[in-house]
């Protein structure tokens, strides 16, 4: 029979224990290890590549692991002009990403269609998939992309991740503790 004893205070583990909200810990993990899906469709993709390279170094924000499989990604960076021919492919790749997932619309074209007021161009990727952060510019400089990434990190840190991902479990817990 295992022996039970009081562990209210143990000087040996003092300083190694942190009390925090579960959401705060989860969000902290999410936001500092965002794996981007580089949806490079036009010239914005060049700036996206520059942001990943040494001068701007997106690794400082934990988002350097560009994955070319949507199943390994957290954030889709839609970088460039979304034509109607490409639009449903972008949506499909977004749907293949596992939850939780976020979208950055990088540049004027991905946000609104930009200068392409034309029969061939979707007027903003937000008509098909939910967008978290819009970045202005044509194309935006890498600093702007990094600023957008930091905005997304701020947004993630305010999210109620546990409730969003496990709504039924949250309800049960709330009932149990009510």
């Amino acid at each position: 029979m295992p022996e039970t004893r009081a562990t209210a205070y143990d000087s040996k583990i003092e300083g190694n224990v942190i009390f925090t909200r579960f959401d705060a810990a989860l969000n902290w993990v999410h936001k500092n290890s965002l794996w981007p899906m580089p949806m490079g469709l036009a010239c914005c993709a060049i700036e996206l590549m520059a942001a990943a390279a040494s001068r701007f170094d997106i690794a400082r924000f934990g988002a350097e692991v560009m994955r070319f499989s949507p199943r390994q990604c957290d954030v889709m960076i839609v970088a460039g002009t979304v034509t109607y021919k490409m639009a449903l492919a972008v949506k499909r790749i977004y749907e293949q990403m596992p939850e939780p997932k976020w979208v950055i619309a990088m540049g004027a074209c991905a946000s609104t269609g930009g200068m392409y007021r034309s029969y061939a161009v979707l007027q903003g990727i937000d008509q098909l998939i939910p967008v978290d952060v819009y970045i202005s510019g044509c194309p935006p400089r890498p600093e702007a992309l990094l600023a957008g990434l930091m905005k997304l990190q701020e947004k993630i840190s305010r999210e109620r991740s546990f409730r969003n991902q496990k709504p039924e479990l949250t309800e049960k817990l709330e009932e149990a503790f009510a």
Partner: protein, 189 residues
């Protein structure tokens, strides 16, 4: 052989079939009948060394008959001579030259995609930019700039683009940006 002599021998070989010869900065343009295009094209390549088809383009002269115009830009590598051939055609009465110059294959597909002109004898006449099943020909004059709605489930869709009153234009002047860059061009300009 100089450019002059090349053009002259073409003129001799097809006496009467070449019309409207014009010259602009040393480049010669002929208008030919749509039925003669393969014969003249083969002669230009084999006998006159026009071995490079630079481009094939099309023009929509909306309201005229025949409606369309196809323009072939030829170049002779050995003699460094340009030649431009134009033919006026209705929608579906032009022969392919893709067996004479293989590069015409994709050019003719693009013309088919954008203008809807069908090339007789083309080996693979599919759309090249828009998807198979898109119902319109977007570079025709009667196609609106803002597009038309279409829907192909699981393939693609299009919607009408908001143009906010017209295509964006700029007018050079020292006026403020609001006056220099109106959303729409006034009708009288």
């Amino acid at each position: 052989m100089t450019g002059q002599e090349l053009i002259h021998s073409l003129d001799e070989a097809f006496d009467g079939k070449l019309q409207d010869q014009t010259e602009f900065r040393g480049d010669t343009t002929f208008t030919i009948a749509a039925g003669d295009v393969r014969e003249i094209a083969a002669f230009c390549r084999d006998k006159l060394s026009f071995d490079y088809l630079i481009d094939v383009t099309s023009i929509d002269n909306f309201g005229e008959e025949p409606r369309f115009e196809i323009v072939y830009h030829l170049y002779s590598m050995p003699h460094a001579v340009h030649l431009c051939l134009k033919l006026k055609v209705p929608e579906d009465a032009v022969d392919t030259v893709s067996d004479i110059w293989p590069t015409a294959n994709w050019h003719e597909r693009e013309i088919y995609d954008m203008m809807g002109i069908k090339f007789n004898g083309h080996p693979d006449l599919r759309r090249i930019l828009m998807w198979d099943g898109y119902p319109f020909y977007p570079l025709r004059k009667d196609f609106p700039l803002e597009g038309l709605p279409s829907e192909m489930p699981d393939v693609a869709f299009t919607k009408v683009t908001p143009l906010e009153g017209g295509p964006f234009v700029t007018v050079p002047s020292t006026a403020t940006a609001k006056d220099r860059e109106p959303r729409a061009r006034p009708p009288e300009l």
